[in-house]
């Protein structure tokens, strides 16, 4: 397993533009890209939405992994391709982009599922080559020698019992 991973500014901008097109096209509530570690890689929310994707990302990642394990138990060889949560107001559609990244789409129950699937599929095909570029995984400098000390100071300030 690779030790560190990164996403370049260029990758991010390309991804964001895919997500923006998707959300505008179908008037979705939100689209976001999550990895298997539960991290949010990119997100686009419609203007009226403000739910906490920080929390939704690990939940989506967890439920997608659980679904994958269920498939494996059933004898399937590859990852789950898509899953759907039907709710009273907002549905959630999750589909796999690469082996470790998936796309989460939140949409009103009035939006046709067929449309969501069709445009999700197009978006996946656009996202795959962008995610393949792993040049941002290689970097030398991240922290300098002051970072550790500064971080420790910040942690001390944040922890209110000390």
């Amino acid at each position: 397993m690779q030790y560190s991973k990164g996403m370049s500014e260029n990758q991010y901008n390309q991804i964001l533009s895919c997500l923006t097109k998707l959300i505008q096209k179908l008037r979705l509530n939100a689209v976001f890209l999550v990895d298997g570690a539960g991290r949010i890689l990119a997100e686009k929310l419609s203007e009226s939405e403000k739910f906490d994707t920080t929390i939704l990302a690990p939940l989506a990642s967890g439920s997608y992994s659980a679904a994958n394990e269920m498939a494996r138990q059933l004898g399937e060889k590859s990852n789950v391709k898509m899953m759907l949560y039907e709710n009273d107001n907002k549905n959630v559609f999750i589909s796999s982009v690469t082996s470790d990244v998936f796309l989460v789409i939140v949409f009103e129950t009035g939006v046709a599922l067929g449309m969501v699937r069709l445009f999700a599929k197009r978006t996946l095909l656009q996202l795959q080559p962008i995610l393949l570029d792993d040049s941002a995984n290689q970097f030398d400098e991240l922290f300098d020698q002051h970072f550790q000390g500064l971080l420790n100071e910040k942690l001390n300030q944040s922890f209110l019992d000390e």
């Binding site: 030790y3 991010y12 539960g38 939940l59 394990e69 991240l142 922290f143 550790q148 209110l160």
Partner: protein, 202 residues
């Protein structure tokens, strides 16, 4: 570790590991109760009706910008129940550092060791081992009467001499020192890997 260059975010994942009921959730609850609301997410807990962790608990901590970068700590717990093996594997995906919470009660020593071996098994599957991975030990429930002495627990669990902390998680004792230490080890480890990578490419 994941670095998001456009947003200047550094994501670090820390997992609290340990046998069922050792106090992992209690650690997160304490952290969550004592952090400035602007620096934390909600605490998510996925529990059964009997209050046992069924999937994971999750909490994100931030400390604002440091040298123009924004570290984000994604903190998880795993369910301790023996048969939730797959869930532990899922939660460990992309882990950067571990807090192993041991239950100090004498009768829990076997469970502590079994769980530590279970952790090593999962780490090996990710190409890591307990020797070359940043982790700390927390000896929890030090307030209970039937506990093992620190010296005994050390010989039973701390084979690699990692930093250890005594704790009473429900009272918050030892909780912050533990998390601060694991963060420190994670950052040094990232630094070391970057330097090794640089040397290899040079």
């Amino acid at each position: 570790m994941f670095i998001h260059w456009a947003l200047k975010e550094i994501h670090l994942k820390i997992v609290y590991y340990g046998p069922a009921l050792c106090g992992k959730t209690a650690n997160l609850e304490y952290i969550h109760s004592r952090i400035d609301p602007s620096l934390k997410s909600d605490l998510v807990t996925l529990k059964t009706r009997e209050d046992r962790t069924i999937f994971f608990d999750f909490l994100q901590l931030e400390v604002g910008y440091i040298e123009n970068k924004k570290p984000k700590f994604n903190i998880y717990t795993v369910p301790g129940q023996v048969n939730y093996n797959h869930t532990r594997k899922v939660v460990l995906n992309g882990v950067d550092g571990i807090v192993f919470v041991a239950d100090s009660q004498r009768e829990m020593m076997d469970a502590n060791l079994d769980t530590l071996l279970d952790l090593e098994k999962h780490l090996i599957a990710e190409g890591k081992t307990l020797e070359d991975f940043p982790w700390v030990l927390q000896y929890n429930k030090r307030d209970l009467p039937n506990i093992e002495s620190i010296r005994e627990i050390e010989t039973k669990l701390n084979f690699f001499n990692v930093p250890h902390f005594e704790a009473i998680a429900t009272q918050g004792k030892g909780v912050f020192p533990t998390v601060k230490e694991v963060v420190k080890l994670v950052v040094s480890n990232v630094q070391r890997h970057l330097e090794d990578g640089k040397r290899m490419r040079a």
